[in-house]
Symmetry: C2
Subunit: 426 residues, 2 copies
């Protein structure tokens, strides 16, 4: 075997640039919102098979993960929750193994009529691709897939096990990535090409979801005083929770990794529904909130703080006092974590980036959560995020910078070559 | 014909007391929430036919009413909106004609599990009947039906046209009663046995519904500052509307009929829905409000005040300024009205009540609306409400005092006899 040079590898990635854009457009066309991931996963499985990878397409076994400390409870069924892992087995196992992980699920689009173009009909213009999930994070899946394919086109393959993971539910639970971990997938490092503008992630927040069920006392509006308006009561609870957000953001309360971020702790009132008839005082209101918290803070203590804040606000409320709200924790129960920037994987990734760009990548403490927590907290292997530049993820008119996708693909191809080493392909 | 004495009439009503309770239970068993009224209306039509009345069962013709000043716009279809009128034609027409009107529709139940017994399974205990609509106002329909039947059992009938109306949509538009008016039904007076504790209604509030559509700017919660939370923006608009409520309730702003009521103007935040994903800043929120206003205030001026209040609050809001909310007026666009307590109908009704009870009925200015407005404002005929005692209408565990239903039935039978006069039945 003639070992390809870095320039050979870069040239091989460059030769696949159009194919990468076409694959990304194909993936964006799948609506992979929660519960709709399977057709896209089947397509990914076919792509992995075409690359000569062994394909492990498996349904998440709820019983196998539900007692894990990283598990997030759900109120939907798990009959058709498919993960796909493309497995490369090395003949020589001379290098270090690697997991490249991405999530196929996307968040809802919001009102489609507020998009400049339909969210699942990708549009390429001026070097960007628009579409829900284009950035978060189908571009990342494309980047690692094309990186592997570029090496193959040179007649080489990683000299260590390489796992390409396409998982579900990164956006709501992380149970997809958790299921891979529980299934036994381990490696010497993991990289998730989340759309973090080619920064290296060194810390991520904890994230928790919960739903609050408020019950008022229904009455005819001819006497609003007779009933407690459940919607207005919910507003009072939201205000109390917002005061908790302010306390957690106080400079003296901060984790050092987030000291420089203006507003690291974000409590988001994401969903509300209440009442059923304009002329009846509403009996019920439900709202869902997402809260962030610092690494090192346990999910148990966050649940306690949320529960206590609501209980105290209810105790002060004229009618909630007699009808205490119910708090239901579902979805993300995700601890925060940090990644050692001086670890071998981080240093190599930074070095390759520097060689291509002329300067090292910025480090990033993210106020969101990612699946990297599972590897770092429960898998005993270092994991970071390093991915393309995208805009308006989780919002309208999401788009990804295609040049950045290409740059990430180059870096990942070089990283695989140097981290795993290379051997002749079959 | 031997003209029956008042005592004969009372005895005839008393003889039908069990039948009245059975008919009420039968009607309560129909779920007549909005859109589900027809089976109960068909049953009413059969009851009217059994009484020998001519039955006018007709669908509301939207085109015939939509330009009427009393019309309320709707966003549901009118394919199966059935009114039923039982018409008694007198042979002699010696007396004054009368309309007895009731509505078959009921408001939603709220959470059925919060009821002591299922809302459409009537329970009789301790002299009360529990069930949605038992008081508001199937008991009123039963009262006028049994009053007429009692006279018939004595071999007599009203000596003037009598119209028993069972209408739809009193609880949301009044378009059922309006359709009767537009169809040509007129009389010398009208009584609606709404569950007002055997008081005589002398004034009712205007009522209006509207829906506010708020649009924020969606964003990932990792940067909540980038988006405007549409739910929180809606809260700000609700607060501005509540300040308008306070101003309208000010003592100096009051209509004299409502001077003695503690809080006559009620703005009810009845329904809210917003957001779709806990980890996305919500793009959209809609809320529905019901506002009350005094008689003599035009619906046009209320719409203007509501629209201006929202526009001003939006102009002061950091993000609504750029994305003004949309206000949609639907359902009740109902003016208030007053009834002359010294009119002949009112004096006769009060006198009969006094004869039976020993004292005159209390007068009532109600903070709700009723279908009486159509007769008073647009029909040029005096209409009041006089009906049984009920509790928790529009709330959980609605119930009606059966003794009060019986007392109202006696009063209505005597009123028919004295207002219309009597002639031999066929």
């Amino acid at each position: 075997m003639t070992t390809p040079t870095p320039n050979d590898i870069i040239a091989a990635v460059d030769a696949l640039e159009d194919e990468a854009v076409a694959l990304l457009a194909e993936l964006v066309r799948f609506d992979t919102t929660l519960g709709n991931e399977t057709p896209a996963q089947d397509r990914i499985a076919a792509v992995f098979a075409d690359l000569g990878l062994e394909v492990d397409r498996f349904a998440i076994d709820l019983a196998a993960i539900e007692d894990h400390p990283g598990f997030s409870p759900v109120d939907w069924d798990y009959d058709d929750k498919i993960n796909v892992v493309g497995v490369h087995r090395s003949r020589h196992n001379a290098g270090r193994s690697l997991i490249l992980n991405g999530h196929i699920d996307v968040v809802p689009t919001g009102p489609a009529d507020m998009w400049a173009s339909p969210p699942f009909e990708p549009v390429v213009r001026d070097g960007w691709m628009w579409g829900r999930g284009a950035g978060d994070m189908k571009a990342g899946i494309v980047a690692y897939t094309i990186a592997f394919k570029a090496l193959k086109s040179l007649g080489v393959a990683p000299a260590a096990p390489l796992y390409l993971q396409s998982v579900v539910e990164e956006e709501c639970t992380g149970n997809g990535a958790l299921a891979c971990l529980v299934r036994g997938y381990r490696a010497d490092a993991a990289i998730i090409p989340e759309p973090f503008e080619r920064s290296l992630m060194t810390a991520q927040m904890g994230v928790m979801w919960f739903r609050v069920h408020v019950r008022g006392k229904p009455a005819h509006v001819l006497d609003t005083a007779a009933g407690a308006n459940a919607i207005e009561a919910a507003f009072a609870l939201v205000e109390a929770l917002k005061r908790l957000e302010t306390r957690w953001n106080a400079p003296e309360a901060r984790h050092p990794a987030f000291a420089g971020i203006e507003h690291p702790i974000n409590f988001n009132l994401g969903v509300i529904t209440g009442g059923e008839w304009p002329s009846s005082v509403p009996t019920e209101c439900r709202f869902t909130m997402r809260v962030g918290f610092f690494p090192g803070v346990s999910t148990a203590s966050v649940r306690e703080a949320v529960t206590e804040t609501i209980a105290e606000a209810a105790a002060r409320h004229p009618t909630l006092r007699e009808s205490p709200p119910r708090v239901e924790f579902f979805g993300f129960q995700a601890e925060g974590c940090t990644v050692d920037a001086e670890g071998e994987m981080m240093r190599l990734l930074a070095d390759i980036h520097r060689r291509l760009d002329g300067e090292p990548p910025p480090l990033r403490a993210t106020t969101a959560t990612t699946d990297a927590r599972f590897f770092n907290l429960y898998g005993d292997l270092p994991a970071t995020c390093y991915g393309p530049h995208a805009e308006r993820i989780h919002a309208l008119d999401e788009r990804v910078d295609l040049a950045s996708v290409h740059a990430v693909t180059r870096v990942l191809a070089l990283f695989i070559a140097e981290w795993c080493g290379l051997e002749p392909a079959d």
